[in-house]
Symmetry: C2
Subunit: 383 residues, 2 copies
């Protein structure tokens, strides 16, 4: 460890990407745990489940029938958090009233999708080969392209990518131009996921949400303060040299536990070159990204020999953005997994963390070392 | 509802106290839930548990014996996240290196306490009368006073309060001046609490943590922009008039679901007068605060007829603060409870929420209406 003292003392680390601090208490990992035990999913799943609304050829809640898809399948979420059409909002409070000053709201429209990662009910990203993950990245790319502002400099670039088209005639262009697209996955019941069939979600909104907004501000600031260099390019370069927080890397991507990680085994995947969005990648880069996702998720499952729960999400340039915002953006993926010590003991970000500041017990360096060591075949295949 | 449209459309609300947005999707509450079911605590507890490390006269993990206390009892946490003494941290990275630029850490020292709320193992705040809660407020006040900077204008004021002293000779003055004290409670296994004996925690640090830092900035900004008036005084006044988000109020405190609440049944207790910290309160105010805490927690338990889990925390002026910071601070309490629809179905702040922006389903006005209706005797007493 380049600074071994940080394994012994309580300290805070600064998250340069978010502009916020996290409290690290390494010695606290020794504390005995008598609280809640998670119940890891033990059941082995069938390849096809007639009751699953995500399996091929099954009928969904709204009466529509899924096609017999072979790779991914996308549909509009039946219980979308935002919708394309709704009544307009015209605040009635008077400009000089206390209410107008204190109660600020704005309407949000948008579109929410569900995307299945595979026709097989029993697979997860950890079970899949990079070649099986590439189609997921292609589908994300196609959806991102479909929603890009035609005025964005990225739109032309997007048209020139040679990947298989979505090939879903039922998916229509959004009725309005949205500002931001959040691609994410909740995995495991602990992370609010109610169907084990491998799938993710995409929420697209007229607003730029809080997290990407903060990141964009930090990225811009760094660029301005350091002669146009990119925070995450510099960061990936440094981490790839320091190695102590690296979990896996290949030619185009670095994956590791960020210096400022909040969750015990949090991982960030960062493009080593300056890539602003999915549409910047070529074939080789998509393959390298798929390999990195496979390596991270397999190590996760190997760590506690369980279906490792997490929330995962992509950050990249907004759909409707200024050239300055596009140039400042840098493609990366966050994995936020809750488990701490075993398949049944998680970290709670509760009282102190909610009221004051996120807190972690083991250091990011210790977490990275353990994940590095979880290389090799998926534990389930060896049983 | 003063703006009924907000019950129908997706919108964002701005949290003026934190300076951040939350996404509200009222229609989404209709979505069926097939995911994780919480297991509410069903067991009835004994008044005294020989195995509990918080019950009077029992021996704790470190071999010390609890006194036969009658109201509250305070001790230093055996597994403190921060400690008073540790080695110093002197970053060795060179100033002009990439590492020095990207990897920022600082040491944190401090002191962590556990505080039992009652000698009775089987009670919770919801079971207690205001008269039983007053001693807890007094203990918080004594601990806050004990850690106040002697240079603070609050220190003199604190010495003039007439409340029973802590009366614990084993508690020694902290060895250094700390910047901030976070008083909080995690209740229920869902909130990472491992012992049902009623208790809270206090973490005191050399750093001003993220949440109170953001709030202080927002409070200062409001004061500057509005001729010295106080954000939370104005807010309590407005809410007390509008009524639709009020859960309970008395002469000195307003309790309700904030306009910008993130958690389904989130509640904030705000002092109606400008009070900066616990040491600003007199006897009547402490009684009113105790009553408000009792009314909120009893309604919580009545809502789903369960031991309602939550994290709760006090925000007030830092221990070591400038006069400007002290004057901007305003005493309030946050309750962040995770349950959404029943004792077994919670709200998950996961993928979208972690990667993009917090999201809620029912509106704060709907939540407040339901909590108002949960008035009356504690459900357990009626069984
Ligand atoms: O201190 P406890 O009760 O052992 O632990 C609980 O509260 C702490 C402060 O919010 C959290 O850091 C822990 O994750 C949680 O389990
Ligand atoms: O959309 P789902 O899978 O029904 O729901 C899950 O993910 C959403 C997006 O992170 C969250 O808002 C929900 O709380 C969670 O249960």
């Amino acid at each position: 460890l380049s600074e071994p003292i940080l394994n012994d003392i309580s300290h805070r680390r600064y998250n340069l990407l978010r502009g916020s601090w996290v409290l690290v208490s390494p010695h606290r990992n020794k504390r005995p745990w008598q609280g809640l035990q998670e119940s890891p999913s033990k059941t082995t799943l069938p390849e096809y489940d007639p009751e699953c609304y995500l399996c091929p050829s099954n009928t969904r809640a709204n009466g529509e029938k899924n096609p017999k898809f072979e790779r991914t399948f996308v549909f509009v979420n039946d219980y979308s958090a935002v919708k394309e059409e709704q009544e307009g909002y015209h605040p009635e409070r008077k400009d000089d009233s206390l209410a107008a000053r204190l109660l600020k709201a704005e309407a949000v429209t948008g579109k929410c999708y569900v995307i299945t990662f595979s026709p097989s009910h029993h697979l997860t990203l950890a079970d899949m080969t990079p070649a099986q993950i590439v189609p997921i990245i292609e589908t994300w790319t196609n959806l991102y392209t479909m929603h890009l502002s035609p005025k964005s400099s990225l739109a032309q670039l997007a048209r020139s990518i040679s990947i298989p088209p979505l090939n879903q005639t039922d998916l229509v262009k959004p009725s309005a131009q949205y500002r931001y697209m959040q691609i994410f996955e909740n995995k495991g019941t602990t992370m609010g996921c109610s169907n084990p069939h491998p799938h993710g979600q995409i929420w697209t909104t007229t607003s730029l949400p809080e997290e990407p907004k903060h990141e964009l501000e930090q990225l811009k600031k760094y660029q301005q303060e350091h002669n146009g260099s990119h925070l995450l390019v510099d960061y990936a370069e440094l981490e790839s040299k320091e190695k102590e927080r690296t979990v896996f890397e290949n030619k185009n991507f670095w994956a590791g536990v960020p210096y400022w990680a909040v969750w015990p085994f949090e991982v960030m995947i960062v493009s080593k070159q300056h890539k602003r969005t999915l549409v910047d990648f070529d074939d080789e880069e998509r393959k390298d990204l798929a390999e990195t996702i496979a390596e991270v998720t397999r190590r996760y499952d190997n760590l506690f020999e369980t279906q490792f729960p997490y929330s995962m999400g992509l950050h990249q340039a907004p759909l409707d953005a200024t050239e300055e915002e596009i140039e400042a953006s840098h493609f990366h993926i966050h994995f936020y997994p809750p488990l701490l010590r075993s398949a049944t003991v998680r970290k709670f970000q509760v009282g102190y963390e909610m009221m004051a500041e996120p807190q972690r017990d083991i250091t990011p360096e210790q977490a990275a070392e353990r994940l590095r060591a979880c290389d090799g075949e998926l534990y389930r295949r060896k049983l």
